[in-house]
């Protein structure tokens, strides 16, 4: 078993979680609240977590609900799930 793993950030199918570096303090509460375990903590302290398994996201939004700063993290549902609505 290797100690190194490789993350290919160029071939993402979806990008479910977006962090804003200006607000995220790297507290990793989202990492600890995610039941699917899609994140890993950033190896650099106080930096935003890494979404290592984006396609496994269930889009429940618990990472957002647990975040102490509402501007630091954003959930992006898959584009194909954009719903249509119109003004009455």
């Amino acid at each position: 078993m290797e100690k190194k793993i490789y993350v290919d950030q160029g071939s993402r199918i979806v990008n479910p979680i977006h962090f804003d570096q200006n607000f995220c303090t790297g507290c990793n509460r989202c990492v600890e609240a995610c039941q699917v375990d899609v994140f890993i903590p950033n190896p650099e302290r106080k930096k935003t977590p890494i979404v290592l398994y984006p396609t496994e996201c269930w889009y429940c939004g618990c990472c957002v609900m647990e975040c102490p700063n509402p501007n630091a993290i954003r959930l992006n549902p898959p584009l194909m799930n954009q719903i249509y609505w119109k003004r009455k």
Binding site: M1, E2, K3, K4, I5, Y6, V7, D8, Q9, G10, I13, V14, P16, E32, A33, C34, Q35, V36, D37, V38, I40, P41, P43, I50, L52, Y53, T55, E56, C57, W58, Y59, C60, G61, C62, V64, M65, E66, L75, P77, P78, N81, I83, Y84, W85, K86, R87, K88
Partner: protein, 648 residues
């Protein structure tokens, strides 16, 4: 490409052994309640959860309504009436014991939740004067406003409150640990469960949990027919990792199952679907929202006799001469007239009469309180809807006072699936239980989605707590046994064997192969020939491909162990389908070689279990459709202590 070192220490070769009185496998709603009940009895309690207990499970992110709270002070139905209605609505194929527990104790759990910090009342008085509000208790009701047994709740507050309570009571929580097998003692006449093994999905560390009593609280099987290679996380209604580990390990240990032949054409979620509760519809979270067609023409609501309802208020009332109704439209797919609630005209009827697609949910036309309670309470509090729907739609400009939200599926679904794309939904099969919620194995109990005919949050909570206190009573009068080292070592090697390869096939390819087999050979129409080929192909996968599964880190180890469990669950399902030699409407079960629908001699629960761990022989049994016998009397015999305490 960015090179990263694995974020956690690797402990592949470490084994940690721990002992406890009560061991709970699965930290969702049922598991947390089981842990709370056991810990309250003063016993050492361990909770093993594959994800993160604070938000894990199907109900971790929220819950908008609490069903079957028949003992709340406003309810006009008794637990007996309500349970019997649920049983009759499914033509008997329902769990009388677990649903009676839900009807009898669900409301107690809701009050417990409030004491723990969960919100269950309109304490801000936002809905004063609404016809679904009780002014004295501040409870808000949904569905049947006259009979008042389903409460609207603020369920996003529940799971963190349960987690906090577990910690306060000293429950030892092992997050990120997947339970992999039950440890049993098969030397005696009856198999006894002595604990379980587990592996950590971040470190690879192996665990041995020794227990006096064990409770299975994991999820129902998923990813059997449905799997998305591109977006595995939304393959099903439930989270990716809630896929039925408990069913697989229980089956291997000889636990008895029933109704596993039942599966429904997909309704919810999956790659085909829009987010549940995120499209215009009339059911469940959105009951009873008005709908309009493409030209803005209002879609009529009818009562069970087909009479058009003139007001919104009537959608929340029983029909003339009806005592009460179950949900809207009925609880089962084939609602019984006696309990059938209001619904919109069927879609075929609407299209024939000139209504034009697409249809839209018309929140703006709803009375103020109804609109606000659907959008600001139900959608905001339901599971996985607060952030992706309530918050994101608002940010994107959706205004519930002004906008029409499109509907995509028929009625309350958010997609249209093919007949072969199936799910375990609508009270599916599971473990057979007695009045202690004990399984057929000594020392082993089950709750929530592990039980046959399970459904919602209230059911998981009530059965979890009930199993917790009965397992604790058993643990108090039993002693710890020594484990069979060989069995533990065998399991450790099985888990480890996945980690020592440098190439092979990945878990996603494996999962997709299972779903292809199940769609082809265990789809809507079943027969002995098809099922036998399916079983043979699954067995080939097991013997030829499982040894090739390849993992690169502990996270992938968990995913690979999961797909092996999915394969076991698929086999359990095919075996169950083979032994019911009759078709059944309410089990959604069609056998082309036994086309007669519901012959009376097959109106019973067919049970299956593996005879022992050594061979693969399936032992078939049967239970009478009313095996639970008298609900009230039995409940009172088994729960004298609880009833006494409740009165005090």
């Amino acid at each position: 490409m960015r090179e990263l070192e694995w974020a956690y220490p690797l402990r592949w070769d470490e084994v940690k052994e721990v002992s406890t009185d009560v061991l709970i496998l699965g930290g969702g709603i049922a598991g947390c309640w089981a842990a709370i009940a056991a810990a309250k009895k003063g016993l050492k309690t361990i909770l093993v959860e594959k994800g993160a207990t604070i938000r894990s499970g199907a109900g971790g992110s929220g819950c908008d309504h609490w069903e079957s709270a028949a003992t709340n002070p406003c309810s006009r139905v008794t637990p007996e009436e309500l349970t019997m209605a649920m049983i009759k609505d499914h033509n008997g194929y329902n769990n009388g014991i677990s649903h009676y527990i839900e009807c009898r104790e669900g409301y107690d759990r809701l009050l417990d939740l409030e004491r723990m910090g969960g919100k269950i009342r309109d304490t801000e008085n936002e809905f004063v004067g609404a016809e679904f509000r009780d002014e004295k208790t501040q409870f808000l009701f949904s569905y049947d406003y006259e009979n008042r047994f389903t409460l609207r709740v603020w369920g996003t507050t529940f799971k963190p409150a349960l987690y906090k309570e577990c910690k306060r009571l000293g429950v030892e929580i092992y997050d990120r640990v997947m339970a992999t097998s039950l440890i049993t003692d098969v030397n005696k006449q009856q198999t006894k469960v002595l604990g379980a093994t587990g592996v950590n999905g971040r470190t690879g560390q192996f665990f041995v949990f020794k227990s006096k009593a064990t409770i299975l609280c994991m999820a129902r099987p998923t990813r059997i027919w449905l799997f998305s290679l591109g977006l595995p996380g939304i393959s099903e209604f439930r989270p990716l990792q809630c896929m039925g580990d408990g069913h697989a390990m229980a089956w291997k240990a000889g636990v008895e199952f029933t109704m596993m032949e039942k599966s429904l054409r997909g309704q919810w979620s999956g790659e085909r679907s829009y987010p549940p509760y995120g499209t215009g519809n009339t059911h469940n979270t959105w009951y009873a929202c008005s709908m309009v067609d493409a030209d803005g023409k209002e879609i009529p609501w009818i009562d069970r006799d087909g009479n058009i309802l003139k007001s919104v208020s009537q959608r929340y009332r029983p029909s003339p001469g009806q005592k009460f109704f179950l949900k809207g439209g009925g609880e089962s797919e084939f609602p019984l007239y006696e309990y059938q609630g209001p619904d919109t005209l069927p879609i075929e009827n609407l299209l024939q009469n000139g209504y034009k697609l697409p249809f839209y949910a018309d929140l703006p036309s709803m009375p103020l309180h109804e609109r606000n309670v659907i959008w600001n309470v139900m959608v905001a509090q339901e599971g996985k809807s607060r952030i992706p729907i309530f918050q994101r739609y608002k940010e994107a400009g959706f205004n519930p006072e002004k906008d029409l939200l499109q509907s995509y599926g028929e009625g309350w679904t958010s997609a249209s699936f093919l007949p072969r794309e199936r799910q375990l939904f609508g009270i599916p099969g599971g473990i057979v239980n007695d009045w202690n919620l004990k399984t057929n194995l000594e020392g082993l109990y089950a709750a929530g989605d592990q039980l046959f005919a399970s459904d919602c949050n209230g059911h998981a909570a009530a059965t979890g707590y009930y199993a917790g206190r009965h397992a604790a009573d058993y643990a108090i009068q039993t002693s710890q046994s020594n484990l069979n080292d060989q069995q533990v070592e065998f399991e450790r090697r099985r888990v480890k064997s996945l980690t020592n390869k440098s190439e092979g096939i990945g878990w996603k390819e494996f999962n997709l192969a299972i779903t292809r087999i199940m769609q082809n050979y265990c789809g809507e129409i079943k027969s002995r020939e098809l099922l036998n080929i399916g079983l043979k192909l699954l067995e080939n996968l097991e013997t030829i491909e499982v040894p090739k599964l390849y993992v690169r880190n502990p996270h992938e180890l968990i995913r690979s162990l999961e797909v092996i469990n999915i394969l076991i669950n698929a086999k359990l399902i095919i075996n169950s389908c083979l032994v019911r030699k009759a078709s059944s409407k309410h089990l959604h079960f069609i056998r082309s070689d036994y086309p007669e629908m519901d012959p009376i001699e097959w109106h019973k629960f067919i049970t299956v279990k593996l005879e022992n761990n050594k061979n693969n022989k399936v032992k078939v049994g049967a239970l009478p459709i009313d095996y639970y016998s008298s609900l009230k009397e039995n409940y009172e015999i088994y729960n004298e202590d609880y009833i006494k305490k409740r009165i005090i």
